[in-house]
C-alpha cells in the first residue's frame, strides 16, 4: 500500500517512527497512571479493611475513574499535532516535504494517520492495563467493563477531534503560536460564543431550566463539552452524561471528519511559501478577527441592551472594546510579528462589532420571549414532569429524573394544572424577584412544556393540592407510574448515607431494602408525594449501568417509610445500650441536672466525663421526620416550659434505664433525640492518627438515643 497519490505506507511508517518518542512516553504515562492508581486504591482499601469489615466493594464505572485522561490527552494530542505539521512552519521543511514524490493528499493522510495510530495505541494501552489491573484486584471491585471500554472510546474520540482541529489550525497558519491559537479557536470559539449567549439567557430569564436545545448543547461536542464541564461553564450536564452519550460520539465523529476534510483542502491549497507566516490568507485572518471581537464584546453589549443601559453598562462596553483592541494587536503580533499591522484588523473589528450588536438585539428578543412565555392547552401538546434533586438544580444522573424526563404526558388536566402552577410561580418570582420557594409553593419540579415546534423546560413550584391532583391524574399513566416504583437491587448498588443517623454499610443496606419494600407498597399518590419532596434523611444510592453512574434518592420519612425509620433509630439505640459505662454515666448526669434550671439541654447542653477520662456532651432536640411537616424536619427549638423540660429529662432517664426501642411510628409522632457526643482535646489530634488506630476506629464518637414522644409536644 504505497500509493503516492492517496496514502503511502512507507511515508506513514517513516513518520510513525519519527514521532515514536512521544508515543512511547504517552503509553508509559497512561499505563503508569492507570496501574498505580488502581494498585494504590486496592492497597489502601486492603489496609482499611483490616480495621473494619463493614465495607462493600468499590464501584468502578470506568468513567469518573478515568477523568485524569481528560487532562493528559490534550498535551499528548497537541504535541503530536505540532510535531507532524511543524514542517509547514519552516521554509526548509516545507520545501523538503513538498518536493517529495507524493501528492499533497498522500502527504497529509500518511502523516495524520501516523499520529492517530500512536494516539490509538496510547488509549489502547490504558484500556488493556486497566482491565488487567482490575482483573488482578477484582475482589475489591465491582467493575463495569462496558463502562471502561465506553470511556476509552470517548477519550479516543475526544483526542481524535482535537487532532483533526489542530491539523486544520496548522494548515491555516504558519508558526507554532498561531497554530496553537487558531486550533484552540476552531475547537472552542464558536461554542464559547453560543455558550455565552445561553449563559446570558439563563441569567436574565426566570424559572427557566438551564437547557441548551438540540445540537447547540455542548454535550454533543466531546472536546467542548468535557473541557467546559471541567471548567464549570455552561453546565447543564455532567461529565458522565457526555462520555456515555452515543449521540455525542456520532456528532463528534462527523465534526472531526469535517475538520479533517477542511484541513486536507487547506493543506492542498496551502502555498509552500507561507511557511513561517501567521494566518495564510486575508479571509482567514478576517474571520478570526470577527470571532475574537464577538466573543469579547457580546456580554457587555447584551447586558447594556437588556438592562436598558446605564453608565456602568456603558463603561463595561468601553472596557471590553479596549480589551478587544489589545487582543487584536497581540494576535497581529503573533501572526505577522508586526504590531503595527493592527490596522489590518480594522475591517474585522468593525464587522465584529456590528455582528455583536445584531446578536445582542437577537438575544434580547429571545429573553423577552422566554420571560413572557405562557403555556396553555392550545400551545402545549404534551408535558414531561421530573423531580428536582434539591430545590435549585436538577442533576440528570438522578435515575428518576433520567427516566421521567422522556415520558410525554398528554393528559389535558395535567397540562392545565402545571400551566396554572407555572403562571402562579412566575407571578411570585417576578414579584419577589427570585426563583426560590415561597411558603405556600415549596415543592419544585421540572416541567417540559412541549409545543408543536419548541420545547420549553421550566421550573414550576407546586403546592400540596396540586401535587395531589397531579398524582390522581398520573396514576392512570402506567409508564409514568412504573418509574416511581423502580429501584435498583440492593446487591448491585453502593449505598451512601450521610444523614444524621450514622449507619454502617451493612445496616444502611438493610435499611435501604426495608425502605424500598415500604415505598413499593405505597399508593401512587403517596409514592409520588414522597419522591417529589426531599426529606432530611435521604438515602443516596449509586449504581452503574452501561457505563453511566446513576443516583437514586430514597426519601425516608415517618409518613411513608416508618419501618425503615424505626430500624435506623433502633440501630442507634442499640449502640448506646451496648456502651453500659457511658449509658450509666449519662443517666447519673441527667438525674443530677434534672432539677437544675441553669442547664438548658435544648440549647448548649451539658458535659460530663467518664472514669477513663473521656469527655462527652449531651444535648436534647425534638424532631419530626415527616416530609409533610417540612418546617419540623430540621433541627429546631421548641418553646417549652420548665415543667415540660423536666418531664422530658425524666422521660429520657426512664427510657435509658429500660433500654426501650422504637416500635410503631405514626406520621404525627415527634421524637426526643438525645445527642451524646465525644469531646476531644486539642492534644488528641496531634498525637493520634485516628484513621489507623483500631481503638479509635471502632469507637463511636456520636450517639443518638431516640424516644418516641408521640404527639405530646
Amino acid at each position: 500500500m504505497n500509493d503516492k497519490k492517496i496514502f503511502s505506507f512507507n511515508l506513514y511508517k517513516s513518520v510513525f517512527l519519527q514521532i515514536k518518542i512521544i508515543g512511547i512516553i504517552g503509553i508509559v504515562l497512561s499505563v503508569f497512571i492507570s496501574c498505580t492508581r488502581i494498585i494504590n486504591e486496592a492497597s489502601s482499601y486492603k489496609a482499611y479493611l483490616k480495621h473494619t469489615d463493614t465495607y462493600g466493594k468499590i464501584i468502578v464505572s470506568g468513567v469518573t475513574d478515568n477523568e485524569y485522561l481528560v487532562v493528559i490527552i490534550p498535551f499528548i494530542i497537541l504535541t503530536l499535532g505540532i510535531l507532524i505539521w511543524h514542517f509547514q512552519n519552516t521554509r526548509s521543511g516545507s520545501d523538503f516535504y513538498h518536493s517529495l514524490p507524493y501528492t499533497r493528499n498522500a502527504l497529509f493522510l500518511s502523516r495524520f494517520l501516523a499520529a492517530t495510530s500512536w494516539f490509538f495505541l496510547i488509549i489502547l494501552s490504558s484500556l488493556v492495563s486497566q482491565l488487567i489491573c482490575y482483573g488482578f484486584n477484582s475482589q475489591w471491585y465491582v467493575i463495569d467493563t462496558k463502562g471502561i471500554i465506553l470511556m476509552h472510546i470517548s477519550m479516543f474520540l475526544y483526542g481524535f477531534q482535537a487532532l483533526c482541529a489542530i491539523s486544520l489550525g496548522c494548515a491555516l497558519t504558519g508558526n507554532v503560536l498561531s497554530n496553537c491559537i487558531t486550533s484552540g479557536m476552531i475547537i472552542f470559539l464558536p461554542r464559547f460564543i453560543t455558550s455565552l449567549a445561553f449563559e446570558l439567557i439563563d441569567s436574565a430569564t426566570i424559572l427557566r431550566v438551564n437547557n441548551v436545545p438540540g445540537l447547540l448543547n455542548n454535550r454533543y461536542n466531546l472536546d467542548v463539552g468535557i473541557i467546559f464541564s471541567d471548567l464549570g461553564f455552561n453546565q447543564d450536564f455532567d461529565f458522565t452524561e457526555i462520555v456515555t452519550c452515543k449521540a455525542s460520539y456520532v456528532y463528534t465523529i462527523i465534526l472531526s471528519i469535517i475538520y479533517l476534510l477542511l484541513a486536507m483542502i487547506v493543506f492542498n491549497k496551502r502555498k509552500s511559501e507561507y511557511a513561517g507566516q501567521g494566518a495564510i490568507s486575508k479571509p482567514v485572518r478576517f474571520v478570526i478577527c470577527v470571532a475574537i471581537v464577538t466573543a469579547i464584546n457580546i456580554v457587555s453589549f447584551v447586558t447594556f441592551i437588556n438592562s436598558e443601559g446605564g453608565y456602568q453598562d456603558v463603561w463595561e462596553i468601553v472596557a471590553t472594546i479596549l480589551v478587544t483592541i489589545f487582543v487584536l494587536g497581540l494576535y497581529e503580533f503573533v501572526s505577522s510579528k508586526r504590531i503595527s499591522y493592527i490596522y489590518k484588523a480594522i475591517p474585522g473589528f468593525i464587522v465584529g462589532l456590528v455582528l455583536t450588536i445584531l446578536i445582542s438585539f437577537g438575544l434580547d428578543f429571545i429573553i423577552d420571549n422566554i420571560n413572557n412565555y405562557t403555556p396553555t392547552l392550545d400551545n402545549t401538546k404534551s408535558v414531561t414532569l421530573s423531580v428536582m434533586c434539591n430545590n435549585i438544580n436538577a442533576i440528570e444522573t438522578n435515575y428518576l429524573i433520567s427516566q421521567t424526563k422522556s415520558i410525554e404526558i398528554k393528559d389535558e388536566e395535567v397540562i392545565d394544572i402545571l400551566s396554572n402552577a407555572f403562571e402562579k410561580s412566575k407571578e411570585q418570582a417576578k414579584k419577589d424577584n427570585f426563583d426560590f420557594a415561597s411558603e405556600e409553593r415549596n415543592i419544585a419540579v421540572i416541567v417540559g412544556f412541549k409545543g408543536f415546534i419548541f420545547d420549553n423546560k421550566r421550573i414550576v413550584w407546586l403546592n400540596e393540592d396540586e401535587i395531589n391532583n397531579l398524582a390522581a391524574r398520573l396514576e392512570s399513566n402506567a409508564k409514568y407510574k412504573k418509574v416511581y416504583y423502580d429501584y435498583p437491587d440492593v446487591k448491585k448498588v453502593s449505598v451512601n448515607y450521610d444523614g444524621p443517623f450514622e449507619l454502617d454499610y451493612n445496616k444502611a443496606n438493610e435499611v435501604y431494602s426495608i425502605a424500598v419494600q415500604e415505598l413499593k407498597s405505597l399508593d401512587f399518590k403517596d409514592c409520588f408525594y414522597a419522591r417529589l419532596t426531599n426529606s432530611y434523611n435521604d438515602f443516596n444510592v449509586d449504581f452503574s449501568r452501561n457505563g453511566k453512574k446513576y443516583n437514586v434518592s430514597i426519601p425516608l420519612s415517618q409518613d411513608y417509610t416508618p419501618e425503615a425509620m424505626s430500624e435506623m433509630m433502633n440501630y442507634r439505640i442499640d449502640e448506646l445500650n451496648s456502651n453500659t459505662e457511658l449509658k450509666n454515666e449519662l443517666i447519673k448526669k441527667l438525674e443530677g441536672i434534672s432539677n437544675d434550671s441553669s442547664v438548658d439541654l435544648f440549647d448548649y447542653g451539658a458535659e460530663f466525663s467518664l472514669t477513663n477520662g473521656k469527655k462527652y456532651s449531651i444535648r436534647f432536640a425534638l424532631h419530626s421526620y415527616s416530609c409533610k411537616d417540612r418546617a419540623s424536619i430540621t433541627a429546631h427549638e421548641y418553646s417549652l416550659s420548665e415543667q415540660d423540660k423536666k418531664e422530658i429529662i425524666e422521660t429520657a432517664i426512664e427510657a435509658l434505664k429500660t433500654g426501650q426501642s422504637i416500635e410503631k411510628i405514626d406520621a404525627n409522632d415527634k421524637f426526643l433525640c438525645v445527642y451524646v457526643s465525644r469531646i476531644y482535646d486539642d492534644d488528641y489530634y496531634e498525637n493520634y492518627d485516628a484513621y489507623y488506630q483500631d481503638e479509635d476506629l471502632n469507637e463511636v464518637s456520636d450517639y443518638i438515643y431516640f424516644i418516641n414522644m408521640k404527639d405530646k409536644y
Binding site: N10, Q18, S92, S99, P101, T103, N268, E273
Partner: protein, 301 residues
C-alpha cells in the same frame, strides 16, 4: 525534456518570476545565474514542483510537475536551506530516502559516504555546515533520480570538496543517467561545470545560451590601423561592443573566430590580436547589448 512555458510567480505583490520560458535538454548540466533575489531559487522550486506557478506551466516530458508524484519520483531537490529529519543520522536519512525513491542505491550511498569521509552514525545535527551540505549531496546522488536540482549547492564547501562534487556531477551526466540543474550567484562557480547557462535578473530571463557557444562565438579583438578609423570600418561584423582608446580599438565581436580573423587581416591592420573573454565579460556585454546597464558589482557575480 523540461519545458518552462511562460512561468510567472508572485509573492503578494512582488513579482518573483516574470514570464520565463526555456527548454532544458536531457543529459545536460544546466546553470542558473543571477544576483541575490533575482528569482533563481523561486524558479528552481517551481521546477521541483514545490511552488505552483501563478501563470504558465512546467512540464517534464509533457507532464506537469506540480502535485504529480509520477513526475516527482524522478526529481530530487536539494535546497539552499537544508532539511533533515530531527535527530537523524545519515543511515536514518538513507532509510527514509530508500522508502521514497524506488531507485535509491544503498551501495552507491555507502561508497559516497566513504569518499566524503563522513560518519554515517553521527547525528547530522552535529555536522558542520559544509558536512551537512555534503550529506545532502550524497543522499541526492544516491537516489539515482533522473533530474537533480541543486540550489546554491557549493555554498559552504571547501575547494577540494567542491572539485570532488563537480567530478561526481560530471560522471553522473556522462553516464547518461541524469540531468542536473544548478543555481548559483557565482558565475565562476558554474563556468567550468555547466553546458548551458541562463541569467536571471529581477525575475526576468535575460540570457539563455549554450556555454560553448558563448565562449567560442564571442571574443575580444584588439586592432589598430595606420590611418584613423571608426566603427564604420567594421561594417559587416556583428559587433557587440566597440571602444577606441587612442589608435587602438577593443571590439567585442560575435562570430566564427577564424573567419573574423581572416577578414580583419585583409584590412591590413598594424595590430590584430584575438583575446578570449571570461564568461563574466560575455554576460556583461550581452546584457549591455540587451539594454541592461549593469556592472559586475551590481550582478555580484
Amino acid at each position: 525534456m523540461i519545458e518552462i512555458k511562460n512561468v510567472c510567480k508572485k509573492f503578494d505583490r512582488f513579482e518573483a518570476l516574470k514570464n520565463i520560458s526555456s527548454n532544458i535538454e536531457e543529459g545536460s548540466i544546466y546553470g542558473m545565474v543571477g544576483s541575490n533575489g533575482a528569482g533563481k531559487s523561486t524558479l528552481l522550486r517551481v521546477l521541483a514542483g514545490i511552488y505552483k506557478p501563478d501563470n504558465g506551466v512546467v512540464e517534464f516530458n509533457s507532464k506537469v510537475v506540480y502535485n504529480n508524484p509520477d513526475v516527482k519520483k524522478d526529481i530530487c531537490f536539494v535546497g539552499d536551506e537544508l532539511f533533515f529529519l530531527p535527530g537523524a543520522n545519515l543511515k536514518n536519512m538513507a532509510s527514509f530516502y530508500k522508502d521514497i525513491y524506488d531507485d535509491f542505491n544503498i551501495d552507491k550511498f555507502k561508497e559516497l559516504v566513504a569518499s566524503f569521509k563522513l560518519d554515517i552514525s553521527k547525528n547530522i545535527g552535529y555536522f558542520s555546515k559544509g558536512m551537512r551540505r555534503q550529506a545532502a549531496i550524497i543522499l541526492a546522488l544516491s537516489t539515482n533520480a533522473k533530474y537533480l536540482l541543486f540550489d546554491e549547492t557549493f555554498d559552504g564547501l571547501d575547494p577540494v570538496v567542491r572539485r570532488h562534487v563537480k567530478n561526481l556531477l560530471y560522471d553522473k551526466v556522462l553516464q547518461g543517467e541524469t540531468t542536473i540543474i544548478i543555481s548559483s550567484h557565482s558565475l565562476r562557480e558554474l563556468e567550468d561545470l555547466c553546458d548551458h547557462l541562463i541569467l536571471i535578473h529581477q525575475g526576468g530571463l535575460v540570457l539563455d545560451s549554450d556555454v560553448l557557444d558563448l565562449k567560442t562565438h564571442k571574443f575580444k579583438v584588439q586592432v589598430a590601423f595606420k590611418e584613423d578609423f571608426d566603427k564604420t570600418k567594421f561594417d559587416g561584423f556583428e559587433i557587440i561592443n566597440f571602444v577606441k582608446q587612442g589608435s587602438v580599438a577593443n571590439i567585442i565581436i560575435n562570430g566564427n573566430k577564424d573567419e573574423v580573423y581572416d577578414r580583419l587581416s585583409s584590412l591590413n591592420p598594424i595590430l590584430l590580436e584575438i583575446l578570449p573573454l571570461t564568461l563574466e565579460e560575455v554576460f556583461i556585454y550581452e546584457m549591455e547589448s540587451l539594454g541592461y546597464c549593469c556592472k559586475l558589482e551590481e550582478l555580484a557575480m
